[in-house]
């Protein structure tokens, strides 16, 4: 039991932060909610599936469950960004100097805004590829879709983001001049 707990702890420490980041990006920066959902996913894994999954499957299982929970959240509160989340985010302790913090915040907000313009399936596929380094086959496994759909989704997501990014750069350039 102890060693199983240790194994679970190791898995948790390896993947909890990245699962939080994935959910945070998926949910448009709602960090507290992302952390709750990540915790809930691990809780479900611990209660029901831990020990029954084949080796190496736990990670995919977690992302699948977490994504489903995120979709449920979209349905529940489609565009509502809870005030509480914003307050918690604003109160979050920060160690860097304010200037650096501001720059990072700006950069992060921009990434989130851009990601939010994508359809959910494209966004998820792209995040799993770029942040989690999953192969197309693995992404297909998580999302229960074919590899060719993964390929197309990722390409479309990139192409759309590229276009929006260049438009934004042009807009910022024009307003600066």
């Amino acid at each position: 039991m102890a060693s199983e707990d240790e194994e679970f702890t190791m898995l948790f420490q390896d993947f909890y932060p990245s699962l939080c980041r994935f959910l945070e990006c998926l949910l448009g920066g709602r960090a507290p909610l992302a952390q709750d959902l990540a915790q809930e996913s691990f809780l479900q894994l611990h209660r029901t599936a831990w020990g029954t999954l084949p080796d190496g499957e736990a990670r995919f299982w977690l992302y699948r469950v977490a994504r489903n929970m995120a979709i449920n959240e979209f349905r529940k509160s489609n565009t509502r960004y809870r005030l509480f989340d914003r307050v918690v985010e604003a109160m979050r302790p920060r160690a860097r100097n304010p200037e650096q913090e501001y720059e990072t915040q700006e950069r992060q907000t921009l990434v989130l805004e851009m990601l939010q313009t994508l359809p959910e399936d494209q966004r998820t596929a792209l995040l799993l590829r770029e942040q989690e380094q999953l192969s197309y086959r693995e992404i297909g496994q998580v999302l229960n879709i074919s590899e060719s759909k993964v390929k197309v989704d990722i390409f479309r997501a990139r192409a759309a983001l590229r276009e929006r990014w260049s438009k934004r750069v042009k807009t910022v350039g024009a307003s600066a001049s």
């Binding site: 039991m1 102890a2 199983e4 707990d5 240790e6 679970f8 702890t9 948790f12 420490q13 390896d14 993947f15 909890y16 932060p17 990245s18 939080c20 980041r21 945070e24 990006c25 960090a31 992302a34 952390q35 990540a38 915790q39 691990f42 809780l43 611990h46 209660r47 029901t48 599936a49 831990w50 020990g51 029954t52 985010e89 979050r92 160690a95 860097r96 990072t104 950069r107 992060q108 921009l110 990434v111 989130l112 990601l115 590829r129 770029e130 942040q131 989690e132 380094q133 192969s135 197309y136 390929k151 197309v152 990722i154 390409f155 990139r158 192409a159 983001l161 590229r162 990014w165 260049s166």
Partner: protein, 314 residues
């Protein structure tokens, strides 16, 4: 996006093309400016998305882990079912024993040729027997309640086969439920709490990073100019980068300069490894290796992880 290769550029940077296709697209890239720009933009997008930092704090992570592990300890509502089942089984046995006793008595009575005194005497016997046997049944009903109130208390050594009779656990639940209550005395908690401790996490992180860097430093490079397989190291580095960021932030916040600066040195190296392509050029790997050597980071990680582990033991 008029070029027919655009979609393949996307697959190329993901390392999802066959060798033949890769060569074909790379050849095409040498002559197509549009695809070159697209690849550069896609890679820039990748950097932006990869560099997104989660706002997760180590304390939140620790709390979440503790909560999950604790939930499992509390989990079995089986406690009630168990003792209830046991009580029912026990009461049933007593009732059966009473009934069979009564039947045996009746049988012996019918064969008896004794006086009416002999006939009258047994009357209270079964009734008292029944009463006696009913008492445990009546006693048994509060027992489950008690057990139910104290679901975390260790139960009286139920045997495994009986457990199956009471309730067939769902897949996965068996694992969670069986060893729990007896295997969790109060004094076992500190051991479970240890991994969640910030210093332990840092020590573990140093250890993992050290292992990764050793592996990265020691694997055999292919001849110059050819590709090297580093997918394992890259994935590990990718996982460690996030934790590194969090731990650095935490160390900064609590003013632990030594740990913070070591994590700060480690971070760009982890980032570089995690941003390597699937099959990087040997030279790219060599450059990172040289940096690792120059900074003497493997030895520093070793020393610090041992120091932290000792501090935790004290």
């Amino acid at each position: 996006m008029n070029c027919i290769f655009t979609e393949k550029v996307s697959s190329l940077i993901d390392g999802e093309l066959s060798q033949t296709e890769t060569r074909e697209v790379e050849r095409h890239l040498m002559s197509c400016v549009e695809c070159q720009e697209m690849r550069a933009d896609f890679l820039s997008l990748r950097t932006r998305i990869t560099n997104f930092e989660t706002s997760l704090q180590p304390t939140v992570q620790n709390r979440a882990l503790k909560k999950i592990l604790a939930t499992q300890r509390r989990a079995p509502a089986l406690g009630f079912q168990w003792s209830f089942g046991k009580a029912v089984a026990f009461a049933s046995l007593l009732i059966i024993a009473a009934i069979s006793g009564f039947v045996v008595y009746q049988g012996s009575k019918s064969t008896q040729t004794g006086s009416s005194v002999a006939v009258n005497t047994p009357t209270p016997v079964p009734s008292s027997t029944v009463q006696q046997h009913q008492r445990p049944q009546a006693d048994a009903s509060p027992a489950p309640k008690k057990e139910n109130e104290e679901t975390t208390q260790p139960r009286q050594t139920p045997s495994a086969p009986k457990r199956k009779i009471v309730r067939e656990p769902r897949p996965g639940e068996q694992f969670a439920a069986i060893p729990e209550p007896p295997a969790r005395p109060a004094d076992a908690r500190p051991a479970d709490a240890r991994p969640a401790d910030a210093e332990t996490m840092t020590a573990m992180h140093f250890e993992k990073s050290e292992t990764l860097l050793r592996s990265f430093r020691n694997f055999r490079l292919n001849e110059a100019g050819s590709a090297t397989e580093v997918s394992y190291e890259r994935t590990r580095a990718q996982q460690l980068v996030y934790q590194n960021m969090m731990l650095r932030r935490e160390a900064d916040a609590r003013g632990d300069v030594q740990v913070a600066s070591l994590l700060e040195t480690l971070e760009p190296i982890l980032l570089d490894i995690s941003n390597l392509p699937d099959k990087p050029d040997t030279d790219a790997v060599r450059v990172i290796r040289e940096r690792v050597e120059r900074k003497n980071i493997v030895a520093l990680l070793k020393v610090n992880s041992i120091a932290l582990a000792r501090a935790n033991d004290d």
